[in-house]
Each structure stands twice: as C-alpha cells, then as structure tokens.
C-alpha cells in the first residue's frame, strides 16, 4: 500500500486511498465468496434482519456518541508508515467493527476530557495502578514542550478530528447506514454485496491505528507511546475502559529531538462504563448466527481485543487475581498467554479466508447437506480428556427410583441418570458439586489510590472481577449459575437404555409446569421466541386456551428410523394407559394444538414423537409469510432430541428448527456430543439455551479461538460446561462397587478369508490393473488431486468387483438369463420330464424311466455320493439331459474348467451334453428339524400342495443365478448356522444396496426368510421389516441391512450373528453397525464374521483401517464433493495401489 506518510496530509489522499482499497477488496471478496460459499450466496433473509438489528442498536446508543466504527474503519496513513514491521501481531489485527460492541463506548477522546465524564454525571473512575514506560519517544524538536515531573496527558486521535477527514468517514458511514450489516456477512453475500455501491470497505485487511499521543498540559503533542504499549493502550482508550489521569513525565532530555527517549509514568483509572455487562448475545445473535459460518464476527474480535488489552494492562500494572480462574497452577502467565492467543487468533481468520478451500459437506439431520469447516478437529485423546472431568464425580452419584407407573426395572446407572435428570429439571442444585464462583472469573482487588481527591467507586467493596476469557469486568460477584432445565445425556454406545432412562424421566417429572405469563418470558434468551409469537398472532384464542394449564407434553425428536422404536419402548416401559404416544410423521400430521387440550384424563402423559426431517420442513413452513406450524406453537414441557448430533451444525435447517422449539426443559441425547469439533457442542448448548454459551460469539471467542491457539483453557472451559450439563453413560464405565455398569455378552469377531474363483479373479485383476495404471500415471504427473473423483470411482468399482462380478460387469455382457417364471427359480418337475420327452424316441422310454426314478428318490433325506468329490452331495444338482447328479459346486467348477479349455462341458458320469451352468437343476431339500419330522410329501404333488401347506418339501430350481465367492460363503455360513440353530437370526451388512439385492435373491433360493432395511425404504417399510424380523417365530430369519441406513440407533438384539459382507474404510463405522446387535438386551454371544477376499483391495483397506482411522474417514467418504485429496488420502491410495 503506497500511502503518504506525513501526518498532516493524511486526509486529502484518504478518499483516493479508499477508492483504491474498495476495488481491491471487492475483488478479493468475490474471490473468496465464489470459492468458499458458492451455494450459500443467495440468502434473502439476511440483509433484512440485519438492518433491523442495526437500527435497534442505533436507537439504543447514546446520541452524543459518534458512531464508532468510523474511526477504526479507516486506516491512518501515518500510522501505517510509522509502525510497519514494528509489531506485526498488533498491526495486522483485524479491525474490530466497533458498532457491534455495545459496551465499548467509543471514547475517542483525549483521556481526561471533560465531556464524557460530565455526561456520566460525575461518576468517576477507579484507580487501577500505574506503570512506567521507558521507551516512549519524542516527535518534536526543541525546548519547552515538557519537563521531567510535569503532568502529561495521553491522547488518541479523534475520529473526526479535522473537517478535512469528513469525506472518508461519511462515505463509510453512509454505506453502513444504508446497507446495514453487509460487511458482517460478506462471506455469503456475493451477489448482493457485489451489486451494492459503494462497496463497504473490507475491514480485515486494514491496518489498525494504534497511535497514542502524549501531550503536555497545553495540548501540544510532544511524543508517543512505543508501539508495544500503544497497541493495547489505544484499544483500552478506544473502548472507553480506562483513563490515564495524573500521568507524569519522569525523565526526558531538556531539549527534545525527534526520537528522543522519554520515560513516563502512566496512572490507570478504570472507567465505570467498563463494568457494564456486555450485551453481546441475545439481540444480534439471531442474525449473527445465521450469517457467520465459523468466521469470527467483528463482535468476537472486539471482545477478544478487549480481553487481550486488559490482560496486558493488568500485567503492566502488576495486578494479579486474588482467586479464580487464573490462579490455577498451569503456569501460563496472563501476558504470555494473551499475546499468544492474539497472534494465533489473528493469523487464523486471515489464513482461513485466503485458502479459499472448497468447503466439505456433511449430511445432517434427515439427509440435509451442510458445509463443514476444515480444521478444528479434535483428536480422540482430547475428547477423552474433555469427558474425563465431566464424569469424575459420577461414581458416587445417588440413585433414584422411577414411579409406579414405570413398568420396567432400571439398572443402577440408569437410576443415577434418572436422579441427575430429575434434579436438572427441577432446578435443584446439580447433584454434582456446584462451584460457587463462576469458573471463568477471577477476583481482583483494587489497588490503593495513591492520591487524594478522587472518588473511589469501590469504597464499600474493594473487589472487582475480571473474566480473562471474555475480557468482561464486573463489580458484582459472578455466581456460577445455571438457568437451563435439561442437559445432555451422552451414551457412547447403543443399547445403554437411554430410551428407558428418558421414559423413566417422563414418568417421574410428569406434572405440568406453572404457567408463565408472557411478560415473564422477557429475559433475553426468550427474545427469539417472542419473535416467533408474532407469527402466532392469527391464533390468539388458542394461545389463551392453553394458558389455563402449564405445558405438560413431551416432544421427542429422533431420526426417522427410530420413531417407532421410541414409540414402542415408551409404551413398553410404562404401565398401560399412563402414556399416550403420538408419532407425528408422514402426510397426515394432526394439529398438535389439541395434544394437551383433550385433557379429560389428566393422568395420561402426552408424548409426541417426530423426526428431524418433519421438524425442519415444519420450520420452513413456519418461516414462510403467515406460516403456521403447530409443533412450534405448542409450548412443550420437555423436548428431547435423540441422536442430537443430527443438529450439530448450527447453520443447518434442522438445527434452526430445533432452536425454534418452545420448551421449558430441553434434553439432548447423543453418543457424540462432540463429533469431531468443539463447535459441535455449540449447537447443543444453543438448543439447550445454556447462556452465555448459547451465544455463538461467546462460544467462538472463548472456546474455539483459544482452542485453535492451543490454549489449554479452551478445553478446561468445555470441561466446566460439560460438567454442568452433561451426563455420560458408557458401556465400559464402572459403578461405585467397581463393576461395569453394563455387562454385555461376549463378541467373537472372525475373518473368513476367501479365494476368488478363476473367472472372478480375472475380472477383478483386469479392473485392478487398469485402475493401478491410471493411478500411477496420474501420480507421476501429480494429478491425483485433480482426478480424485475418478480414482474414487475406480476404487468403488474394485470394491464392487470383490463382492460379485455382476456388480461391475456391464449388464449387456451378462448372459440372458432364462426366465423361470418364479422369483426363487423353482421349476416344475413335469417340465423336466417333458423336456426329456423331446429327445429322440428310442432313448425316450429308458431315459424317462431313469429320470422318474431319480426324481422319486430325491425326497430321500440322504443324498448320494457326488462322482466328483466322492462326498455326500450337499446341494445336489441334476444335469437335465441325463439326470445324473453332482454337487452343485463340483459340477459348476468342472464346467468352468471346461470353459477355460474351450471345451464343451459334459456330464462327468456319461459324457452327455453339452451342458451349461444355468441349465443345471438344483435340488433344494428341506432342513429337517427335530420338531418337523413330518418330512417331505410326495414329490409329484408338490405343485398342488405348495400353497396350502408350509411342510418342507423338495424343490427343484434352475441354476440361473450367478453367485459369487462372497455370496457362496455367506450361504454356506447360513446353512451351517441353520444346522446348529434352526431358528437363527442373522444380520447381514453391506454398503452396496445392489449387493443387498443379490443377497436377497440368494436367500430366496435358499428359501430363507429375509427382510431388508435400507435408505431407499420409507419409514413404514423399515419399521415393518425390523418388527417382522424381531417377531418370535420358529424359523430362521435374515435381515439384510445397508451399512449406512442401519448405522444409527437400530436395535437388533434379537439376532446374534452378524455378517459383514464388505469392509468400510473406517473401522468405527463397522463397529457401530455391529453394535446394533451387540448392545444392551443382547443375551447371547454375538458372532461377527467378516468376509475378505484374499489378494484384493480389501486386504489393503484393512491395512488402511489400521492406520489412523480418523484421517481416513474424511478422505474416503466417497462423496463427490471432496474432490481434493489431502496428503493422507494420497498416502492411502498408495497403500492400495502399492506392490505387496
């Protein structure tokens, strides 16, 4: 930036400077926007609401005060020149947008100026201490400016100091006025902001004016404070936190020259306005939260700078906390820490902006796609550490019994949870020890005033309190206070019985709460709700009708797949008639208004269960003009979010819908309150209305930013928060007697390594070699990142090839399958005989006789010996032309060998033929169970009796189904299983629904009863599948589940055999799937079998699984959006395509 340096000429070129800057900024912004948030650009509601917020603010602000932003909005040319390079950490600080800092009362004045003090009615400042500045420097030359021992003043430039400065601030000021908060959401408003002229200056790049001038009593400037001091002194002055009164010149040369060293003593007085509580949260938050997507807002910057400046000040004057947050023995002196934070924090937003990375996306709620930020992820260790504290008092926690209406028995840890939840709801002091002072605050003592004649604010109480995290000052004792009713119930594993625990809570705390009249709901956290109330205006009658009784109903929000489970569990755990559960889902949703009104039986507890998807769509309905939605109208006694991490992204529709619910008590149930970032927690706190953390500015400033700066305090704060709102129940937690709180039966995991058949190997190898060649070429050219999608597609193909050739072979290449007419491929015996009759007449009779005798003996329970393996035929296959039999596997592999030699396949016994694989006829024999000894009926009556009886019978089936190694392995295992346990229940997972379809065909052919559960099915079908599967019937059942759809919540404890058909990049996903079966309620040993094909990509995947899985999960998510491969995923690709 080429800027004139002399102070005097600063105003004239300013306009020029601005013009240039605007252009540059605009371009830059567009870059950022287009690269960062392309899809979020149109957000029509943003400008409106933000304008409203702004106006509100202006109305509130003091008239005498000049709008604050103007000063720091513009760069001071002189300043740029003077301090370039002097202190980067400060000069590069993003300019705070001071209009967002309500408490920074804009004292852009000479410090002891009469005007502001007069306006405050004589309330005066309190002495904080004094400090020496040894390296102030002179800006003038000559004698008589100042002498040692004289009083000096400390001044900041006035924002509108000269008339010539008007043009620039006016321009920027009017820009602000008209466009409201445009700068705030510059990230998102590409189109809007590009259209609006003049472009509001981009703030972040501007240099901060930190010049602090020293003047003598006559007002002549003779020197300045050195940069390191001025950097924070200027902030404190600007924010109106301190005055410097009675400062002294200690030593200076009698004749000053430019640059001469001056030693000055500065006395610091804290202004009363500094103790005003900040009002950051409620008002601006509704707009803020929507706009800011992980970016630090100006608000947050200002708070952070204030905090840093105060810490520097306390350090300079030697003020130490007497007790409180900073007394902790972590060895970090406030000074070090703060400058550290300042550096890190100031670097980060700039860096993040410049990278212009494509945002990642995740799917939250019911299929809503949201962006996620990079970075800020937590390692597992960090997470463990965070949770540890929150759990430390849990062992000795008391227990509570549920009321009589609760039909089940609770386990010990569940009773503990009930007590905790009960106390959280009833507002009693936490069962855990409550800290008396707010954990974030420190207590300070005002130092003694060395001089007389100053009114001391702290006459009665010499204490004040400082929050080193927020920079807040207070004269009042900050109590550790918790207003929210509710909390987070964290159950790390499935099957801890959280449904049961919450059901017990619903039964326990069933009484409606008292009605709160509207004016009581005025506290700031309710501001949003009041706003929503306006939407309800068309229905004032109903509002009133409800008001004779307080809210008593509970709303449960859960993923769609769990709705019926909730409903069933609630019914099951309650005595009949005590609970009325309404599943609010699907097209015909009732008006919930009546949910509490039909109170002829007040004893019944009303519970409504709905899904995130419904909630989000209801919310968008509500947001439309005059839109109404009863679910947001009802004031709930209690809202429970199941799998609450569904709304972890605060900008998602789901999350916003959840925030908009009206409730007295709020619960979030989730296995992962922090999925991978600390900010995941924010959304929960926001939902819980846990002030002040429900303000994103707060959370960001005091947790996210310090955490990024590797400040351990961030974790400590999170621990404190969690300690007060979270109860964690874990599978391996132990109770007070040292027993595990949950005893689960054993889980035996085994891997069955399989070998491809020759043809499968051929197909696979050709795909693999092709992919490998592609990868190596791209890698050599360094183009892997660019072609990441392509490579992922290749990997996908390989993974399919491992499962079944049909999943990769072009459908046109597959032989036309003979249509046998029935889905399980059964064929009619008569047809076979008929076919034989077509043979030449001479052979006809004898063949027919033989065929009939063969068929007649089929019903014998003993199979003959296979001529190929010389073993008893397990699954006999008949060669249709001659009726000779072999094992299916034997004859199939023989035919394959023949095909390889380009010979025709012939019957091994009689060389009859040629025969094709799909012509073979399989003989499916019933499994004879001890109870079912009725046996087969006459074979030839099969057709007639089939429909009317379920008696097992011999079935012939055309072998027109192409199997695969994995499929065969599964079938073999299931057969074996059926031999051991005729009523087994097995769950089969695959991530490919197309493979699920093949599995289902194979199961059909085995005449096994199967049910399917995948993402394409609607909720009703899924529920039907699961409940049918659970139904207690005397037959084997198989549930085939898509790994992704069945990943959450599902309770499949009725099964105890799990088959994993393919492996996922992330072992955690697999174990989560397995936990569907291995969870509380499971009484048998769980057998898990992974099928792995030797010498394929699967072995490599396992290898990658063993690497740090956390990295892998993002890299291989396989979504089209993550087009760029990071170094880790490149490494992983190398593992896959590497040589053994």
């Amino acid at each position: 930036m080429d800027i004139p340096e002399a102070d005097d000429v600063e105003f004239a070129p300013r306009g020029l400077f601005f013009a240039g800057l605007d252009d540059e900024e605009q371009n830059r912004m567009e870059d950022i926007q287009s690269s960062q948030n392309p899809q979020s650009a149109p957000q029509p509601s943003t400008p409106l609401s933000s304008v409203r917020e702004k106006r509100l603010f202006f109305a509130d602000s003091d008239d005498e005060e000049i709008p604050r932003f103007e000063v720091s909005d513009r760069p001071t040319p002189m300043d740029t020149g003077a301090k370039d390079g002097a202190d980067d950490s400060w000069s590069d600080v993003e300019i705070p947008n001071f209009d967002e800092v309500p408490r920074a009362s804009s004292k852009r004045r000479v410090s002891p100026l009469p005007a502001p003090r007069g306006s405050r009615g004589g309330v005066d400042s309190a002495y904080l201490g004094s400090f020496l500045v040894g390296n102030a420097w002179s800006t003038v030359k000559g004698k008589g400016y100042v002498n040692s021992g004289e009083e000096i003043r400390v001044e900041r430039d006035e924002p509108d100091g000269g008339s010539s400065s008007k043009p620039a601030p006016t321009a920027s000021g009017s820009g602000k006025g008209k466009k409201g908060g445009v700068p705030d959401k510059k990230k998102k408003q590409l189109s809007l902001s590009a259209m609006l002229k003049p472009q509001p200056p981009k703030l972040a790049k501007r240099k901060t004016d930190t010049v602090v001038r020293l003047t003598n009593k006559r007002g002549f400037e003779f020197g300045r404070l050195p940069q390191d001091v001025a950097s924070w002194v200027s902030k404190l002055l600007d924010m109106g936190i301190v005055d410097f009164k009675g400062s002294m010149m200690i030593d200076c040369p009698t004749t000053l020259h430019s640059g001469a060293d001056l030693i000055v003593s500065l006395s610091v007085y804290v202004r009363p306005s500094a103790f005003k509580p900040p009002s950051t949260s409620a008002e601006e938050e509704s707009s803020k939260v929507i706009f800011s997507q992980g970016q630090e807002t100006h608000d947050e910057q200002a708070l952070r700078e204030r905090k840093t400046a105060l810490l520097c000040l306390f350090d300079a004057v030697g003020l130490r906390p007497r007790c409180g947050a900073q007394v902790s023995a972590d060895g970090n002196s406030p000074g070090d820490e703060s400058s550290d934070i300042a550096k890190q924090a100031t670097q980060r937003p700039v860096g993040a902006t410049k990278e212009g990375k494509k945002p990642k996306t995740e799917i939250v709620g019911d299929g809503e796609v949201i962006e996620v930020e990079d970075g800020e992820e937590l390692s597992d260790n960090e997470l463990d550490m965070i949770y540890k504290k929150a759990q430390r008092n849990d062992l000795g926690m008391g227990e509570m019994d549920p009321p009589d209406t609760f039909a089940l028995t609770l386990r010990g840890y569940q009773k503990q949870a009930l007590l905790w939840m009960h106390s959280m709801e009833s507002g009693q002091i936490s069962v855990r020890e409550a800290t008396s002072m707010h954990p974030l605050w420190s207590e300070y003592v005002f130092p003694c005033e060395p001089r007389d004649g100053v009114i001391d604010l702290t006459e009665d109480d010499k204490l004040f309190y400082f929050n080193p995290y927020s920079g807040e000052l207070s004269l009042e004792f900050p109590k550790a206070e918790r207003k929210l009713k509710g909390g987070i119930l964290a159950c790390k594993v499935m099957g801890m019985g959280k449904t049961i625990m919450l059901s017990a809570l619903i039964q326990t705390n069933r009484d409606p709460e008292l009605v709160i009249s509207d004016d009581l709901a005025k506290d700031s956290s309710r501001a949003r709700q009041l706003k929503l109330d306006k939407a309800f205006r068309p229905m004032p009658l109903k509002e009133r009708k409800r008001s004779d009784k307080g809210p008593s109903a509970t709303l449960i929000v859960a993923p769609t797949s769990l709705l019926s489970q909730w409903s069933e569990e609630l019914q099951r755990s309650s005595k009949p008639g005590t609970v009325k559960v309404t599943v609010w889902h699907g097209q015909n949703r009732l008006d919930l208004d009546g949910i509490e009104a039909d109170g002829d039986d007040d004893k019944t507890i009303k519970v409504v269960v709905t899904s995130y998807g419904v909630l989000a769509s209801e919310h968008s309905k509500l947001l439309k003009a005059c839109g109404q939605s009863s679910v947001f109208q009802v004031e709930w006694l209690r809202v429970i979010l199941d799998e609450a991490h569904h709304c972890k992204s605060r900008t998602s529709k789901t999350a916003k819908a959840v925030y908009a619910l009206r409730a007295r008590r709020r619960w979030a149930v989730t296995g992962t309150p922090i999925v991978n970032k600390l900010e995941d927690l924010y959304s929960l706190l926001k939902y819980l209305e846990y002030t002040p953390w429900s303000s994103y500015s707060f959370f960001r400033s005091f947790i996210t930013v310090p955490f990024l700066a590797r400040d351990p305090k961030a974790i400590e704060i999170v621990q404190v928060i969690l300690e007060s709102v979270l109860l964690r129940r874990e599978k391996n937690m132990r109770d007070s007697t040292g027993k595990r709180i949950v005893e689960l039966p054993a889980k035996e995991v085994s891997v069955e390594t399989l070998q491809f058949s020759a043809s499968e190997r051929k197909i696979y190898d050709s795909i693999y070699n092709h992919a490998k060649r592609d990868f190596e070429q791209l890698n050599a050219k360094g183009l892997v990142g660019k072609n990441y999608t392509h490579i992922l597609a290749m990997l996908m193909r390989l993974r399919r090839a491992v499962l079944h050739p049909d999943l990769v072979v072009d459908p046109d290449d597959v032989d036309e399958k003979p249509n046998s007419g029935s889905k399980d491929g059964t064929i009619d015996v008569d047809a076979i005989i008929e076919n034989l009759s077509e043979e030449d007449a001479s052979a006809k009779t004898s063949k027919k006789v033989f065929a009939e005798s063969v068929l007649a003996t089929l019903k014998d329970t003993d199979n003959g010996e296979c001529p190929i393996c010389l073993d008893v035929m397990e699954t006999p296959a008949i060669i249709p032309t001659c009726m000779h039999q072999c094992c299916k596997d034997c004859i199939v592999s023989y035919l394959a060998t023949c095909a390889e030699r380009e010979e025709e396949g012939r019957c091994p016994t009689c060389s009859g033929g040629p025969i094709k694989e799909q012509d073979l006829i399989e003989v499916i024999r019933p499994k004879v169970t001890p109870e079912d000894t009725k046996g087969g009926i006459d074979f030839f009556e099969k057709g007639k009796s089939k429909a009317s009886t379920s008696i097992p019978e011999v079935v012939l089936r055309r072998n027109d189904f192409r199997s695969s190694t994995k499929l065969e392995a599964l079938i073999h295992n299931l057969r074996r299983l059926q031999d051991q346990d005729p009523h087994f229940r097995a769950v089969v997972f695959s991530q490919f629904t197309s493979f699920l379809s093949l599995i289902s065909v194979a199961l059909d052919r085995e005449r096994l009863t199967w049910y399917r559960f995948d993402g394409s099915m609607d909720m009703r079908k899924r529920n039907a599948a699961v409940s049918e599967f659970r139904k207690n019937e005397r037959k084997p059942k198989v549930l085939i589940v898509s790994l992704k759809a069945g990943g959450v919540g599902l309770n499949l404890t009725s099964a105890n055999h799990v088959f994993m058909m393919d492996c996922w990049w992330n072992a955690a996903t697999e174990s989560q799937a397995i936990d569907r079966v291995h969870r509380i309620g499971q009484e048998k040993t769980v057998y898990v079998k992974h099928f792995i094909i030797d010498h394929t990509i699967e072995a490599r995947i396992l290898q990658i699984q063993k690497r740090k899985t956390a990295i892998v999960k993002e890299a291989f998510r396989g979504s089209k959006t993550s087009e760029k491969g990071d170094p880790d995923s490149l490494e992983n690709l190398k593992v896959i395509f590497g040589d053994d």
Binding site: P867, I868, C869, L870, D871, S893, T897, T909
Partner: protein, 146 residues
C-alpha cells in the same frame, strides 16, 4: 495346499478295496504321487509280468486327469507315452485313480495298433502281430518278471 478330501477318499478305498491285479500306494512324502503295479492280464502277451508305473495327481485333479507313466519297459503299441483317451480329452472328473488303472490294465489286453499316433511297435503289431506279441512276451519276461 491341503490334500483334497477326494484324494484322501480315493487312497483309502484303493488300500481297503484294491482292484484285482493292481496295487497303488502313495509316497509318504507326497500323497499325490503313487507307486503302482499292474499285473499283465492273463491271455495277453504281458501275462505273468508285473509292471511298475508311477501316477501323479496334478494340482487341478480331479478337474484334470492324473499323469501316468510306465516305469517298466514294455513292448506295447500304445505305451511308451500311454495313449489312452481318458487320460487326455476324454477325461471326466467322475473317473478315478482306480478307473484309470483298470483302463491301463485293459489296454494291455487289447492293444490298439490303429491308434493314429502309431509308433514303430504299432507298425510291428499291424504288419506281423504274432512276431510282435513274441517280442512283447520276451520283454515281459526280461523286464517285468522281477
């Protein structure tokens, strides 16, 4: 690779129920390798002779035929390299060691000098069967009597 169940079964049966005039015993160190003896069928020029053979079951067995070779010198039109269709393109996995050896034994009784892959011996048999049978007997006496 482990020995397929089929080979074990066949071996057991060969031992438990040997075919007349045939012995087959696997090597201790290689169960796919058999020492075989076949007695010359009565009424053939190979009568009284005991012929040693080796039989090897390849990896693909029973999808591929076993490999059989005479160790004892024999004057036979189809044996030097054994010319037997079931050991070549007429192989079927339903055939076994026993059936193969019985076929070889049968071949001794019924030489086929018309085999397209005729040798000098075949020529001899074709032109002067008596004289050829004489040589066969001589060879049997000379090589296959011990």
């Amino acid at each position: 690779m482990a020995l397929p169940k089929r080979i074990i079964k066949e071996t057991e049966r060969l031992v438990a129920d040997p075919a007349p005039g045939i012995t087959a015993a696997p090597h201790d160190d290689n169960l796919r390798y058999f020492d075989v003896t076949i007695q010359g069928p009565d009424g053939s020029p190979f009568q009284q002779g005991v012929f040693k053979l080796e039989l090897f079951l390849p990896e693909e067995y029973p999808m591929s035929p076993p490999k059989v070779r005479f160790l004892t010198k024999i004057y036979h039109p189809n044996i030097g390299r054994i010319c037997l269709d079931i050991l070549k393109d007429k192989w079927s996995p339903a055939l076994q060691i026993r059936t193969v050896l019985l076929s070889v034994q049968a071949l001794l009784s019924a030489p086929n000098p018309d085999d397209p892959l005729a040798t000098d011996v075949a020529k001899h048999y074709k032109e002067n069967e008596k004289d050829a049978q004489r040589v066969s007997r001589e060879w049997t006496e000379k090589y296959a009597s011990g």
